[in-house]
Subunit: 461 residues, 2 copies
């Protein structure tokens, strides 16, 4: 049977998978340092929880058993299941289902795939892995958690060997308060319209503000004026004040945005920049305060590689409302292009730091014993699959990127001599299986960063 | 909207998830020490690759987009996708698709969920996680890899804090050679019949050997006689020889099985036992040599918690054949019952080792700074969500299982005193954020093993 790749379902080769694995391990490590619990949810949700009549509905994958005997699709509709298309819907359901067993505020991270049946293109896949961090309260969730969760993601992305990323923050209260303050009739429609600024020219957006949100041309011009404010610090406060609009919600939004920008800038970061960008709106209606989009240098064509914000009602079950704040990083969206472009690669295709050579099949048990001794000391290794000529065994290691080959030779008197060769330098030295170890940087596969791309990054970071 | 659990889709609470996470990390660690590359495959395969006309077909979940405009189900059949029901089918496809980019023998592990629409029951779920290790060659794969891959799984399960497991080995060549040697007409049917010994009484199996495999009653009796042999060492060789059957394939099977039992017994294991059990056949037709089933003490009702074997043609693409040998451990099948029974639990519901208390909201930045210092030294911690009374903050830690609470008090002269309280003992001592660290066993959540069950296990292992 001929095997062809499936469009929209990227798969990594073993050395490429090292990149994904190390990135996921690093993200999880940072999230755990901040005390976030790692959970996983089942991949399916009832269809009525997924499909909300929005744009995304037609991209939902629905499940059906191949031979669902006697069950017509229609009769089965009430228990139809679909694959989740993000990690927010399943998380909200998890919170409601398990609320009685959770402690609030509940801080969780979740790194899992999601599925959307959309047209595949660079950065957009039908199966894609996301990394989400959220904090959810019961009935109340103090604002300082907005600052906290955004700082966690800043720390997490700072620790990754990816191109520099920019966190662009805004606040829904700020926009809403400003629009209300200048008297725009339909504030919600205006926010949805201003969100199109990355796709449409300013004039077109201005016209839509008039036609769709009922704004006057003067109001539309002031909305656009607000949206042009973009600064790397809290100087946006003075710039907004200079526009002369007074509104309580605007004041609240300005104070919150300033706290988030300040809180995220206060840490010492090399490859993360933080900005207040007042055109960021995020189309989704459920955001109620802080909003953020994350962009990656050199990959602006992917649009954002992450985003999130504050939602005052992530979920509600009649007894309680669960406000939350969170942010998501698109692991596949960022890594698949970076790996395809050769910016990131794995240092080898196997975990083995050492290949234990085999002189002849009769001595395989001795080679196995040497490997066991090395493994007991935490050194990943494998034993040569055949007692081929040593040159061939070295090539076996070389093709997999294994840096060291171990040789044990026993002389006529039964005395065994151990030597280990660094096949990169050709250096071969005596070694004791009970004490030898490779340099720390050779112990495990690592991510190599290439400078061959347009990004300015350290080599082999 | 009312939320009810979905039968067959088990989900872990945060502290339970610690068990799964640590088990998966331990498995991956062992597999990597042995040089196996960790890969993941997409969760979907073309339906014609999944559905082979067997028992499992009706359990396959097929995907369909919710609003696949203009695509009738029939017209779309040739590109229909289903969820994989094991990790072997996708692995075989991965090998064929990427053969030109892989180095053989290719040694990989894969820890991912799979899906089957079967009736949910204990140990059987609609979504379940498996951990597979396989070695695949191109055209040839020496027998010693059978021993190798089984030793890897023995090592991996030995490292887990689960009840003792038993590896029960047999060899298809041994059974086939024996059946051929005594003249059973339909050897394949006989193997499939003898595999039913765990469900049917011996008399019924004997009758079926006559009716389905064309055996005489005498041949059926000798097949059953072979199947009763079960020993923890290589003494099965003499017992089979004593049955007086001569056949080349039988000899080969005896030698291979002896090598596997010896190879897996030679390592020093506490909680893994190894047996030759000549009634193990494994129904699947593709096994051609070594076969194994893994059972867990006290949980025999789950049937096996793992299994695998040798297949001389995992995949073939016209140019080459890919023989393989592998073994799978049912992570969900073993862990969901162990967690439900309280045998295994997580030591806490969050990664945090320390809760940094907050005296008043004005001092939150100082608490954040203390947390940052601890995190920079690898200590997971969180800051109290509110400046409540210290008693309430301590209860916040206690409910999550966080062992330490940090107190910083600044006197009128601006001098800050740091103290840390072990809330289990009540012990409170002065501490320096730049040097204090918790004992290693408190640093991360761990798996607790309860002796409350029928299993003899160490507590808090």
């Amino acid at each position: 049977m001929k095997v062809t790749p499936l469009s929209g379902f990227p798969e990594f080769l073993p050395a490429q998978r090292v990149v994904e694995r190390e990135v996921i391990a690093s993200l999880a490590h940072t999230f755990e340092l901040h005390g976030f619990a790692g959970i996983e949810t089942r991949i399916v949700e009832p269809l009525d929880r997924l499909a909300k009549g929005g744009e995304i509905d037609k991209e939902i994958y629905v499940l059906r058993r191949l031979q669902a005997e006697g069950e017509s699709a229609a009769a089965d509709a009430d228990k139809q299941l679909g694959l989740h298309f993000d990690l927010t819907v399943p998380f909200a359901r998890y919170v409601l289902e398990h609320a009685g067993h959770l402690e609030f505020p509940f801080r969780r991270y979740q790194i899992q795939p999601a599925w959307r049946g959309e047209r595949p293109q660079e950065g957009r896949y039908r199966q894609f892995t996301q990394a989400d961090v959220d904090i959810v309260g019961r009935d109340v969730l103090p604002f300082h958690h907005d600052v906290e969760v955004m700082r966690v993601m800043v720390d997490a992305l700072e620790a990754l060997p990816i191109p520099p990323v920019s966190f662009q923050f805004n606040n829904r209260k700020l926009i809403q308060g400003f629009y209300r303050g200048i008297g725009v009739p339909d504030v919600t429609a205006a926010i949805r319209t201003i969100d199109k600024l990355d796709k449409l020219p300013e004039e077109a957006v201005a016209e839509m503000l008039v036609s769709d949100a009922g704004a006057t041309p003067e109001q539309a011009a002031r909305c656009l004026e607000l949206a042009t404010i973009r600064v790397p610090d809290t100087s946006f406060v003075a710039k907004v004040r200079a526009l002369g609009v007074t509104d309580d919600l605007l004041d609240e939004g300005l104070a919150e945005l300033a706290a988030v920008v300040e809180g995220c800038s206060s840490v010492d970061h090399q490859s993360v920049t933080v900005e207040a960008n007042l055109r960021i709106a995020r189309g989704l209606d459920y955001y109620t305060g802080t909003v953020v989009e994350i962009f990656m240098a050199g990959y602006e064509r992917l649009k954002s590689v992450g985003g999130g914000g504050r939602y005052d009602a992530l979920a509600t079950d009649g007894r309680a409302t669960y406000p939350g704040v969170g942010v998501s990083f698109g692991v596949s969206r960022a890594l698949v292009p970076l790996v395809a472009d050769g910016v990131l690669s794995g240092s080898r295709s196997v975990p083995s730091a050492v290949l234990v050579s085999v002189a002849d099949e009769a001595s395989r048990p001795e080679a196995d014993d040497i490997a066991a001794v090395l493994r007991a000391r935490g050194i990943p290794c494998e034993v040569a699959p055949s007692a081929a000529k040593f040159g061939k065994q070295i090539r076996h290691a070389d093709r997999r990127g294994i840096p060291y080959v171990w040789f044990a030779t026993t002389d006529a008197d039964g005395v065994t001599t151990h030597e280990v060769k660094d096949i990169r330098s050709g250096n071969q030295v005596p070694a004791d299986p009970d004490s030898w170890k490779p340099p720390a940087e050779d112990l495990r596969p690592t991510i190599r960063v290439s400078t061959g791309s347009t990004n300015e990054m350290e080599q082999d970071q």
